[in-house]
């Protein structure tokens, strides 16, 4: 009889399972991303189509769409498990912390894809100035990681609740404010020629704190479900 597999292979297995389920269902690619693009199309109809105005508000609108619509990746059908599936995972002896980390990894990959594709739409529609773009290589993964952690935590907290699909976005959106601030203020600081290190640090601290909270509370959450 063999013991429990090491932590990281479990993480990779969970992440691959979630990504495979998403690849089959295509919920993020065919629903969430187009929905985000539609939101970016609607905003100019509401605030006006002045090109200078849109260029100014473009980065902020992009991050708001990422926050509000990216949350939907946490409530996608393929992320929810039936009680039988949850029992099977628990009986397999998977480490709850590895399960949390694997789900965050898969969610982060999906959110990063969401950010890149919706970001391209935002650049095209709002003519966003991309100077200082290399910083995005740091800001986008940090925002994706933080949102994925929040989505996974909230998804676990609200698992199997009838009000869950309504509750998760409500729980995630206000908690994601530090990430939104970090991302939008980074864009603003780049535009002003200021350092963005403090904002990167804020996002990194929040992502780290959420990761620690998720890993430490994974077992009590598994007991609840």
């Amino acid at each position: 009889m063999t013991g429990r597999p090491p932590f990281w292979p479990q993480v990779v297995a969970i992440a691959r399972r979630d990504l495979a389920r998403e690849r089959r269902a295509g919920e993020v690619v065919w629903i969430t991303i187009p929905f985000g693009a539609v939101a970016l199309l609607l905003i100019p109809l509401a605030v006006g189509t002045n090109e200078n105005l849109l260029r100014d508000i473009g980065p902020g609108m992009f991050w708001v769409v990422v926050l509000l619509f990216g949350v939907l990746t946490a409530v996608r059908r393929t992320s929810t498990e039936t009680p039988a599936q949850r029992d099977a995972v628990a009986l397999l002896g998977l480490d709850p912390a590895a399960e949390f980390t694997g789900k965050v990894l898969a969610g982060g990959v999906m959110l990063l894809g969401f950010e890149v594709l919706v970001g391209a739409v935002a650049v095209a529609l709002y003519d966003i100035d991309l100077s200082g773009w290399p910083w995005l290589l740091l800001v986008m993964p940090l925002a994706a990681a933080g949102l994925a952690e929040l989505g996974t935590l909230s998804g676990s907290i609200a698992a199997s609740l009838t009000a869950g699909p309504a509750l998760i976005p409500f729980l995630v959106a206000p908690l994601a404010i530090p990430l939104l601030l970090g991302a939008t203020q980074s864009a603003e600081a780049i535009r002003q020629g200021d350092s963005i290190l403090s904002w990167i640090l804020l996002m990194a601290i929040v992502a780290l704190a959420l990761a620690v909270a998720g890993v430490l509370t994974a077992r009590p959450l598994q007991e609840t479900r």
Partner: protein, 249 residues
């Protein structure tokens, strides 16, 4: 199953002290000399600072109750977290409202897109979400466990709200009490402010005591309602056993 009888409703010394403390704080707030630049509207400081202070305290106590519950699994800690979150929402709401009332004569508007105001309103909604989550779960232990995790994560907002006035150039004045550098407030005003903070803290403790007791009674009621039914009349009568076509009672 036995349930501890509800405690007789009585006026506790904490309630009396809290009421006396609030009266004293009100007296100091009205009798202290007016602030030099803002005049009378600045007296809102003696309400605004204690309410936002208690919001912070309440949410930190929610964090402590949540962590303690997850470690000990004792429901009393969940009661502490729940009671404190409710009071935190109450005091945050009060802080937003009294802040808006103060803002009108000073800034000319009730609401402005100031970082501190906006983030405080967001903190309010984080804990409204906490209370909403609690209402959606019937089983007390599942509710306690799930809410505890949100109670831990939610506290991340507090340093961001508090330091927002330092990080961003905003209309809101810098922190009055908990600031990293030196105090910038006259001693008589500071004394009145500290009396207000102490009085409101007493009020918080008194309200916590009542709310925790209420949570304990709610749990006892739930346990009574979901306890397996006890023996009923007729239980002792057993059905006759039938063997080989003949009954044996």
């Amino acid at each position: 199953m036995t349930t501890r009888a509800p405690t007789r409703r009585s006026i506790h010394w904490l309630d009396v002290t809290a009421v006396l403390g609030i009266g004293t704080a009100l007296g100091f707030a009205l009798l202290t000399p007016a602030e030099r630049t803002q005049g009378t509207p600045a007296r809102m400081l003696y309400l605004h600072v204690p309410t936002i202070w208690l919001a912070y305290v309440a949410f930190v106590v929610t964090l402590v109750g949540s962590v303690a519950y997850l470690i000990t699994r004792r429901m009393r800690w969940d009661h502490v977290a729940e009671a404190s979150a409710e009071l935190g929402v109450l005091f945050t709401g009060l802080a937003v409202i009294d802040g808006m009332i103060w803002a009108k004569p000073i800034w000319g508007v009730y609401w402005t897109w100031d970082a501190r105001l906006t983030l405080t309103a967001i903190m309010f909604f984080v804990y409204v979400g906490y209370l909403a989550l609690r209402r959606t779960i019937g089983d007390p232990e599942a509710r306690a466990r799930r809410a505890a995790i949100l109670g831990i994560v939610g506290v991340l907002q507090i340093p961001i709200v508090h330091f927002s006035v330092i990080w961003w150039r905003t209309l809101h004045q810098p922190p009055t009490l908990l600031r990293p550098d030196e105090m910038q407030i006259d001693p008589p005003l500071l004394a009145a402010l500290w009396i207000g903070v102490a009085a409101f803290t007493l009020l918080y403790v008194a309200l916590m005591r009542h709310r925790i007791e209420l949570a304990r009674l709610e749990l006892a009621l739930h346990e009574d309602a979901t306890a397996p039914a006890g023996p009923v009349a007729g239980d002792a009568v057993s059905a006759p056993e039938v063997t080989a076509g003949r009954s044996r009672s």
